[in-house]
Symmetry: C2
Amino acid sequence: MLAPLYQIGEKETMVVELISVGTEILLGNIVNTNAAYLAERLAGFGMSVYFQETVGDNPERLYTVLKQAKDRSDVVILSGGLGPTQDDLTKETAAKVCGKGMHEDQKAKQCLIEYFKKTKKTASEISENNWKQAIVPDGSIVLYNDNGTAPGIIIEADDGKKVVLLPGPPHELIPMFEKQVAPYLCGIEQGVLYSKVVKIDSIGESAVEMAILDLINEQSNPTVAPYAKPGEVHLRITAKAKDEEEGEKLVMPIVEELKRRFGRHIFTIEEHVTMEEALVDMMIRHHLTFATAESCTGGLLAGRLVNVAGVSECFNEGLITYANEAKMKYLGVTEETLKEFGAVSAECAKEMSEGLAKKTGADITIATTGLAGPGGGTKDKKPGLVYISCTLHGKTTVQRHQLNGNRDKVRHTAVVRALTLMRHTIIHEYE
Amino acid sequence: MLAPLYQIGEKETMVVELISVGTEILLGNIVNTNAAYLAERLAGFGMSVYFQETVGDNPERLYTVLKQAKDRSDVVILSGGLGPTQDDLTKETAAKVCGKGMHEDQKAKQCLIEYFKKTKKTASEISENNWKQAIVPDGSIVLYNDNGTAPGIIIEADDGKKVVLLPGPPHELIPMFEKQVAPYLCGIEQGVLYSKVVKIDSIGESAVEMAILDLINEQSNPTVAPYAKPGEVHLRITAKAKDEEEGEKLVMPIVEELKRRFGRHIFTIEEHVTMEEALVDMMIRHHLTFATAESCTGGLLAGRLVNVAGVSECFNEGLITYANEAKMKYLGVTEETLKEFGAVSAECAKEMSEGLAKKTGADITIATTGLAGPGGGTKDKKPGLVYISCTLHGKTTVQRHQLNGNRDKVRHTAVVRALTLMRHTIIHEYE
């Protein structure tokens, strides 16, 4: 096998270039999330991405782009164009750029057979062109695809450059990258690449970075890399180790140190757990039911929580009380409160979450009321003003936020703030 | 001025290349929506986009990418990197690639002064580096920015190639492209580029294309171009004309023909109107109030409708009845129905929207109930099965959909189907 391509902690970084193949992406019919995903993961390994390209299903143009990428970067990762149809030509083009012939690979064929077995397809259901996917460039490494038909491929060119071909669908690309490509890129032959992500809420990226400057500066193995998402910051800790056990030993002390520094702002250290999943999980763990009462967010908060499979264990009902009358009718908000303080007020928010608790009997209730804009502002209340109230067993916390952005952004940010308030309220009482 | 760059209907298409500049896009911290937007608009003009690149705020790498793009394409459009800070170097790099010097431009300076006047900034609030934005490449066309500080720029290189620089924020880029760049690219000096978009629901892209093949084949001026979005297909009709009036005369007969062909499947012919805006507008026009009862969509349907500013005119309340008990408690769904047919059934959906009408008094009510998955399926009811029921003044329509994709996709598609059913129900009774 090869010498390690890249040692974590080495000064010289590996340069990786990303090419997205597909006319649908080129024309903007679908949004390119693979490039963002790969860029984040590579940055986490300390690798550098300087260029990304998008090109349609056209072999000449793909050739030009890939040739150039291979000339100037150490590794080129292509996504898309590996399927069984006529216009899927990524593999053929990559072989040409690397000066390799093609042959039918038994491992690749076996992958296909097993996948078809798994999906219980009969021979007659498998169209002939599927077998095209078992043809691979000479001397390449075949990557198993547990979630689709097209195997991935790593071509090791004679000049030492690597060309990695991944299938386009994210649910195929992500596990293949994690399990097979990431260890390869980090030069792990015998050992493993052990990685944890620490996800942090309600602290900005620069504040997070300031708080871990010493860790970033000291790092060699493991490395720590921050990555910002709307309303959250992820810190990825990655170690090269001979096995999982050693990897864990290297990574977990850093995770513990981050826990000390960020405390309850850490909502998960699990790779695929979202903010809403962490919250739902916490509520199920503490046998808490929740209910929602939304005005400005208008269903988005519940909508996000309901995206968690299994939410039915802790969620029965939610209310969208957009009009003042609905706030009175369902939640018992008083006319006096609405008259004196208005619907966008701490007082109204408090009555909403407390009224919701009475109405539903849920353990924890959350209410939003705000001015999403663009119109409707006054001298004291500007668009973006949102009140969020959370009641847990009779105890209420109200937060005031002045949020930036257009109507859509204000509403989505309010949802993140509400999820965060719920989580912190539960931690305060239970953990 | 120049000769027209591009004649609509000419066989030879103009080749345009897109470059997104910015480290945040390169690293995936923000999603690149500008490229998708520009690709759609350019396709609508019959122009070809073969390559897209993303590059960080690094002048050497940007130089390489831009130089190559300019060599192989007729027009290069760059977005981002035009701001006042040190690392905004798009303009300087573009000037270098085109072999142009730089000078302070009075029009650009005036743009800045007017923008600051509009935002009521005092001289002391304007930091010195802002004036950097008035420095432009020699001989370039300065594009006004009504929504930000950085002017756009068109550089006409000596070899006839054009380099267009646009600001990164979409709310600055889009109006600048529409009002100033699009007419320029289409070679409109004296005249205008008149364009309408016909937005169609519930018909797939290929079916839409089949239905207008004759129009596509016959086209010269105006042109007709389809563009697919989730749950909708847009047809853009574009004419080159000496003035708005002539443009309208050329375009509207095609719009009328499309209306004849697609009838009530057209939900708007307005550029910026979304499916939910068209529906809210229709309900306001007919003085109809609506209410929502959501199970599998869990608030997403109301959440989307509430994103329409002014929805308060027709919306008071929505319910998220996730549990069976909530369906009984709020909507009066009977235990018998739940026992005999289950919560995911036409019978339950019908009782939901009818119960909601009774509960709220709203003119039109919509209910969703389904299996979003991944688990929970049975032999007869597979994940993706969704029932949608719409009641308008006592008359109920129930639809059954078997939707594809993961939990998130099933729920979002169900929302589009629900919006469509509401609109078609209203049309059937009122229009």
